[in-house]
């Protein structure tokens, strides 16, 4: 037992967490004693401090900091035997691991877990909304459900699942043995369960879970019960995780490309994650700041957002949206990357206008920072800001349009293989177009003045996030499933999943445009009689949509356990990840690849992207960055 408590792992993590809670208890009580506060022992204060402190103890106990502590203390470090690479049994996925392939799978599975939990909440929301009046839940629970639903799906599903897929395939695609900072990578991953657990635990907080929406507008949030802090603090961990991962991607992409992999030979998925990472490192600190302001207001009475004491309520929204608008591209650009890979391979044609595809990503990054106040057209902010923001918002549609038209041209005259990844990619192409169109409508200030905060917005965000992002995620998971697991998924179940999802999705979210335009506000547990018909319809459709996810889960689990073995390159793709075995060797490449051409030269006779004639052993992770050798 003592040995187990000393070695990194779950036992030590549990013990350290208890230790951390005790420490936070002591610290809080000590400070209150010094200030002679009454009561001396305050449950709320201790809980908030413990939510900030205990996760660090947990992470230390789990072992994410071990190497750094040893190194900083000048003691021999242990990682050079690479015992923390690769996974031999399912248990290894529950340990701290520095292998980007293991971390990628950890990310994807964890995110899908939160997706299923958040999805179940959506089912409860729709059950409540099936008829006007109260059915199953009271107002607190209802507001909690939609708040936690959105927060989980945004911060613990879409953002991290993209990071997870890229974690797995991006180093392979650029011919690198791992990410630039494998230990930071592990730490980034382990912050996610912390964030998600905090958010879920909020349901057990006195006063119920946080219930102010994923936007947590002040002063509603600064005055809310304790559960609100679990959003505020949870977002800090999720945000820190995404910043660290983004830095890791940037350094990996800039410094670890294989010989010959110039920027203009990178697959578009790499470009997309490069752009996303730029957005993340610049924007995410702003959401962290907005939530720290709320924390300080809530816990210490700082009055940032207390108008009666000279605070400025709109400041919250400006800081929040300065992150959260770029965040919508953080949730979309990686999907653009995935779809570019799949459309090119499955249409057997080069990506049409490759350079414009890359430039339009960068254009979206730059423009994405100039449009945040389009979420605030009715917020009462200074009127002059509205028109400039309308113009920049509308301009973003142009690079977005370039991408859509280029994908269409990629399809043209191709040889389309309509399997599951391709169906989801085409589903994305059509549904995201609708979301982009409603986006342009929303850019038009007079229209937004009417539909802002109605179900029209709910329709828009689900067309872009479900029909857009989630369809690309499904496409990507099916596409790389053989690479990640070494097995094939069931194509028939995949097609059933697609059609159920596609139809269920449109029947659920399409009518929301209509009820929104008719005047139904969002975030309400109860609504006027006139909307009853459509809402019942939407609820029925949403249950079909929910059920379709089970087909997916079944397919994934069954195929991972017992699917037919996958070959190294079942799709006849050119990019590097398909040139190694499925799953890839422990350090990705037994020989360092040399890139000799573009990634999408389908149809060019004899074209290759990378060659493997160099006999030099691939270097283990870390050695490239931390100590360059002079061999």
């Amino acid at each position: 037992m003592a040995a187990k408590l000393r070695a990194p792992g779950w036992y030590r993590a549990g013990a350290f967490t208890l230790l951390g809670i005790a420490f936070c208890f002591g610290l809080t009580t000590l400070i209150r004693a010094l200030y002679s506060y009454d009561p001396l022992i305050d449950g709320y204060a201790i809980t908030v401090v413990a939510m900030l402190g205990a996760p660090f103890f947990f992470l230390v106990g789990l072992g994410t900091f071990d190497y750094w502590f040893y190194w900083a203390a000048g003691r021999p470090t242990r990682a050079e035997d690479h015992s923390s690479h690769g996974a031999k049994s399912w248990r290894d996925y529950f340990k701290v691991n520095t292998d980007h392939k293991v971390i990628g799978i950890q990310y994807v599975c964890t995110s899908f877990f939160f997706m299923l939990v958040g999805g179940a909440m959506a089912m409860l929301i729709r059950a409540e909304l099936a008829a006007p009046g109260a059915q199953f839940v009271n107002a607190q629970t209802y507001n909690g459900l939609f708040s936690v639903h959105a927060s989980l799906l945004i911060f613990l599903f879409i953002i991290p699942v993209f990071a997870g897929l890229a974690n797995y395939v991006l180093p392979l695609m650029i011919g690198a043995p791992d990410m630039a900072f494998p230990r930071l990578n592990a730490l980034s991953f382990w912050m996610l369960p912390v964030a998600g657990t905090l958010m879920l635990l909020s349901f057990f907080a006195p006063g119920g879970s946080f219930a102010t929406g994923w936007t947590a507008y002040a002063p509603l949030s600064t005055d809310a019960p304790l559960g609100q802090m679990m959003f505020t603090i949870g977002v800090q961990f999720a945000g820190a995780s995404s910043i660290a991962t983004a830095l890791n991607f940037l350094v990996t992409i800039i410094t670890m490309r294989a010989p010959g992999m110039s920027f203009w030979r990178m697959p578009l998925l790499v470009w997309a994650n490069f752009s996303t990472s730029l957005l993340v490192v610049i924007a995410t600190p702003f959401v962290a700041a907005s939530q720290f302001f709320v924390l300080l207001d809530w816990a210490l009475g700082f009055n940032f957002f207390n108008a009666a004491r000279g605070g400025d309520v709109l400041m919250y929204q400006h800081v929040f949206w300065f992150y959260s608008h770029p965040a919508v591209y953080i949730m979309m650009l990686p999907g653009f990357g995935i779809v570019s890979e799949i459309l090119s391979v499955k249409a057997r044609k080069p990506i049409f206008g490759y350079r414009m595809m890359a430039f339009s990503l960068l254009a979206i990054v730059v423009l994405g920072f100039s449009v945040w106040a389009h979420h605030m057209f009715v917020s009462g902010m200074q009127a002059w800001i509205r028109v400039p923001m309308m113009i920049t918002t509308a301009i973003i549609a142009i690079p977005t349009g370039i991408k859509i038209f280029s994908w269409l041209a990629t399809l043209w005259r191709g040889v389309l293989k309509l399997d599951t990844p391709m169906l989801f990619a085409l589903g994305f192409l059509t549904m995201f177009t609708l979301g982009g169109i409603s986006g342009v409508m929303l850019a038009m200030i007079p229209v937004t003045i009417y539909v802002s905060d109605t179900y029209f917005i709910v329709a828009h965000i689900h067309y872009v996030l479900f029909g857009g992002s989630l369809f690309t995620i499904f496409a990507g998971v099916y596409y790389w499933f053989p690479k990640m697991t070494g097995r094939m998924y069931d194509e028939r179940l995949g097609k059933i999943h697609f059609w159920l999802t596609f139809v269920g999705f449109n029947l659920t979210f399409g009518p929301m445009h209509v009820v929104g335009l008719q005047g139904m506000p969002r975030r309400v547990a109860d609504y006027a009689e006139q909307f009853a018909g459509w809402n019942l319809f939407i609820s029925m459709a949403s249950f079909v949509l929910g059920a379709s996810t089970l087909v997916f889960v079944w397919n994934m689990v069954a195929s991972w356990r017992a699917g037919p073995k996958a070959s190294s390159n079942p799709w006849r793709a050119l990019t590097l990840e398909w040139q190694v075995s499925s799953p890839p060797p422990i350090f990705n490449f037994d020989a360092v690849p040399t890139v000799v051409g573009g990634p999408y030269e389908y149809g060019v006779p004899g074209a290759v992207h990378g060659i493997f004639n160099s006999p030099v052993e691939a270097k283990p992770a870390g050695s490239l960055v931390t100590r360059p050798t002079k061999e």
Binding site: G380, A397, L408, G414, T433, M441, I449, S452, G519, Y602
Partner: protein
Amino acid sequence: MVVVGVIASAIGIALGLWIDWFPAQASTQAKEIDTLWDVLIIASVPVFVLVMVVVGTAIIKFRQRPGEELKDGPPTHGNTRLEVIWTALPAIIIVGLVIYAWQVLETIDKKPSSEMVVVVTGQQFTWTFEYPQPGGKPVRTNQLYVPQGQSIEFKIKSVDVIHDFWVPAFRIKMDAVPGITGSYRITPTRTGDYAIVCAELCGLGHSTMRQTAHVLSRERFDAWMVAQQKGAAS
């Protein structure tokens, strides 16, 4: 394909214009906004149809057929002319829409020669309305009464958290923000009773924060006002 696209667009636009998307149109501002919406439908449908038709045609004409498992498409890498067109054309459409939307915004914001002020105050979970009286105590009510044909400026405040003052039939909404007085104006065009809806999450009672706006003819409104003033005085 072009024929299919044109027909589908025509049907789509016709349908989009025929469907009655909005609730009752009860202000001059509503008219402007509804027309802008129609224009957006006309601009949007062909874009969506274009994407659908190209994807549909590609699926039908270019799908992999038995025996083509190893076939590749032609290696076309791009076409500058096409790329310029699909950058410029959307840009032109968007510039047009933005200019038009800007004009609509100016029109709905325009201050008329005579205006009546109503102060709207949000609090969890109700609205109160104040009609300032020159040289007297304001008239205060829980139901909104406004005269038909009179431009009204709402001055919007909140005493606690953010709310949003919205009468769907008038189309315009604005947040009621603590510490700020927002404002917008509408001119009611139709008598009748219309729902007032709070459109910003303001706490547990948010979905119950509904009242009624009564648009009265000028005479009936004046009579109502006189009665209120008497009530306030006594």
